[in-house]
C-alpha cells in the first residue's frame, strides 16, 4: 500500500553504488515509498520515481553506498534558497513544516 500518487518522473538525485552494497537491508526498512528491494544480497532501486529524496536511506546506509540530495520540498523554502543562495530550509517562515 503506497500513496497511489506519483510525482514528476526522472528527477530524483538518488544513486546506488551497488558494488559497495553489503545487503543489510536498512534502506528497505527506512524508505517510506518502497523504492528498494533486496535481490541476491544486494539492494536495488525498483521504483525510482517514487523517491521523494527524504534522505533516510543515505543517512542509514552503513557503507555509504547510497547518495541523494535530500532537502526541503516546500516552494517558499526553495524561493528563499534562490534569493539568498542558501540551502532551502523550513526556517524561512514557511508555514507547513
Amino acid at each position: 500500500m503506497t500513496t497511489g500518487l506519483l510525482y514528476l518522473s526522472g528527477v530524483t538525485t538518488l544513486e546506488l553504488d551497488q558494488p559497495a552494497c553489503i545487503g543489510c537491508g536498512r534502506c528497505l526498512e527506512v524508505c517510506p515509498h518502497g523504492v528498494f528491494a533486496l535481490a541476491a544480497k544486494k539492494a536495488a532501486i525498483v521504483v525510482r520515481d517514487r523517491c521523494m529524496e527524504c534522505g533516510a536511506c543515505a543517512r542509514n546506509c552503513p557503507v555509504t553506498a547510497l547518495t541523494v540530495k535530500a532537502g526541503v520540498g516546500c516552494a517558499s523554502a526553495i524561493i528563499h534558497g534562490w534569493l539568498t543562495g542558501e540551502e532551502p530550509s523550513c526556517d524561512c517562515g514557511g508555514s507547513s513544516c
Binding site: 500513496t3 530524483t12 517510506p32 517514487r50 527524504c54 517558499s76 507547513s96
Partner: protein, 390 residues
C-alpha cells in the same frame, strides 16, 4: 479533566502522587528536578496534565503518562491544525513511562511536538513501555528529521542524559521510521551501544508491531496520503497565507479604483471586491480544493493541477456573469484565477508526503514564469477594462 491551578493552589497534599488522579501542579517531568518537585516545592512549575503517576527507576523518578487524550488535548490539536500557537506546542524532552514498564520493556523514541507525543501515547493503551522524547523544538518527527534536530546527536544526548542504560537491561531503541532521515542507526549503536530498530510510520501500528516481535509489515512502512490526511493540512495552508491575502486584498482595492470609477467610490469598491472574490476563489482552489482532489486532477505537477481547477472555476464564473464583465475584465478573470490557483497549489508541495525537492524545483522553474506572466497580463487587462468600461 483537572483544572489548571497555580502553585499556591495546590501544595503537598495534591501533587499528583495519589496515582488515580492526574496532577495539576508541580514540575515538568525531568528526572534531575524531581525529588524537590515531588514534594511540591518548586515554585512556578507544574505537572503536565497528561502525567498520571510517578515511577521509581534506578535512574530516578519517571512520569507515567495517560494513554487517553483529554478534551484539552483535542482542543490543542484543533489549534495546531489551524496554525494557532504552533511554536509553543512542545513538551519537555526526556524519559516517560506508559503503564508500569520494567527493565525489559521496549523503549519508543519520539519528538517533543505535543501533537506527535499525543498521537503516540493515545495508541498505547494497555501497553507497558518507555517513551524517550527528543528535543526537536516542538517540531514533528518527519520535519525535525529533515532538519536534523531529530537526529543522531540528539538521540545519543537523550540516551545518555536519561541514563537509559540503568533503566533498561536490553539495548534496543525503537525509532519512528520517519525519524530515519535524521538518524544514522549504525552511528547511534556505535556511540551508545543501543541498537536501532525502525518502527512503523504510523503510531496506530505500534501495538501490532510490538506484538509481532518488532516486525513491521510492508504496509506499515509505507507513507500514505489519504483524503483525510490531505484534508487536515488545508486549514493551516490558508492561515499561513493570511498576511499575504490581507495585503493582496488592499492592493486590489487600490488598483480597482484606477480609472474613471475613481470618482465613484461604490463602483470602485465593486471592482475591487470582485477582484478580491476572484483572488480568494483562486486561493481556495489551489490550497484547499487541489489537495482534496489531488488524485483526480490530471497531470503530476501541482502547478498544472491548480491551474486546471482555476481555469474551470474561471469559466464557471464567466458563465455566471453572463457577459456583464466585458472583454477585458473577462480576460483578466480567465488569466488571474488559474494563476493564483496554480501558485497556491504549488505551495502545497511542501506539505505532501511524496514530492521530491528536485521535482518541486523543476516545476517551479517552469511554472513561475507562466504564473507571473498571466498575473501581469491579467492586471493590465483589468486596469484597461476599468478605463474602457469593460
Amino acid at each position: 479533566m483537572p483544572e489548571v491551578l497555580t502553585e499556591t493552589d495546590r501544595l503537598p497534599a495534591e501533587t499528583g502522587l495519589s496515582g488515580s488522579e492526574p496532577a495539576g501542579a508541580c514540575c515538568p517531568p525531568r528526572p534531575a528536578c524531581l525529588p524537590a518537585a515531588l514534594t511540591g516545592e518548586r515554585p512556578g512549575l507544574r505537572v503536565w496534565p497528561f502525567v498520571s503517576d510517578w515511577l521509581e527507576t534506578p535512574a530516578g523518578t519517571v512520569p507515567q503518562v495517560a494513554t487517553r487524550l483529554a478534551v484539552r488535548d483535542s482542543f490543542g490539536r484543533w489549534q495546531m491544525r489551524w496554525g494557532l500557537g504552533r511554536r509553543r506546542y512542545r513538551i519537555p524532552p526526556g524519559l516517560y513511562a506508559v503503564g508500569t514498564p520494567h527493565d525489559g520493556s521496549p523503549v519508543l523514541v519520539t519528538a517533543n511536538y505535543k501533537l506527535s507525543f499525543d498521537a503516540l501515547r493515545c495508541r498505547l493503551a494497555g501497553l507497558h513501555l518507555w517513551i524517550l522524547v527528543l528535543e526537536t523544538e516542538g517540531i514533528n518527527v518527519w520535519c525535525a528529521a529533515g532538519k536534523g534536530t531529530f537526529g543522531t546527536t540528539e538521540v545519543v544526548r537523550q540516551v545518555r542524559g536519561t541514563a537509559l542504560e540503568r533503566v533498561v537491561s536490553h539495548r534496543v531503541l525503537v525509532l519512528p521510521q520517519l525519524g530515519a532521515p535524521g538518524v544514522a542507526a549504525h552511528l547511534v549503536e556505535r556511540q551508545t551501544g543501543f541498537r536501532v530498530i525502525y518502527g512503523p510510520v504510523r503510531a496506530a501500528d505500534v501495538a501490532v508491531f510490538l506484538a509481532a516481535g518488532m516486525k513491521a509489515t510492508p504496509a506499515m512502512r509505507r507513507v500514505t496520503f489519504t483524503l483525510g490526511e490531505r484534508l487536515v493540512l488545508t486549514p493551516v495552508e490558508l492561515t499561513g497565507m493570511a498576511r499575504q491575502i490581507g495585503w493582496s486584498c488592499l492592493g486590489l482595492l487600490a488598483i480597482g479604483a484606477l480609472g474613471p470609477q475613481f470618482f465613484h467610490p461604490a463602483a470602485a469598491l465593486l471592482r475591487g471586491g470582485l477582484a478580491i472574490a476572484v483572488g480568494l476563489t483562486g486561493v481556495v482552489a489551489g490550497a484547499v480544493l487541489t489537495p482534496i482532489l489531488l488524485p483526480w486532477l490530471p497531470g503530476r505537477a501541482f502547478a498544472v493541477k491548480g491551474a486546471e481547477l482555476g481555469a474551470m472555476l474561471a469559466v464557471v464564473g464567466l458563465l455566471l456573469a453572463r457577459g456583464t464583465l466585458g472583454f477585458w475584465n473577462g480576460a483578466a478573470l480567465l488569466l488571474a484565477l488559474p494563476a493564483v490557483a496554480s501558485w497556491c497549489a504549488m505551495n502545497f508541495t511542501g506539505s505532501t508526503t511524496y514530492t521530491s525537492p528536485s521535482g518541486v524545483e523543476k516545476e517551479m522553474r517552469r511554472a513561475i514564469p507562466f504564473q507571473g506572466g498571466a498575473l501581469l497580463i491579467a492586471a493590465v487587462a483589468w486596469v484597461f477594462g476599468g478605463f474602457v468600461g469593460g
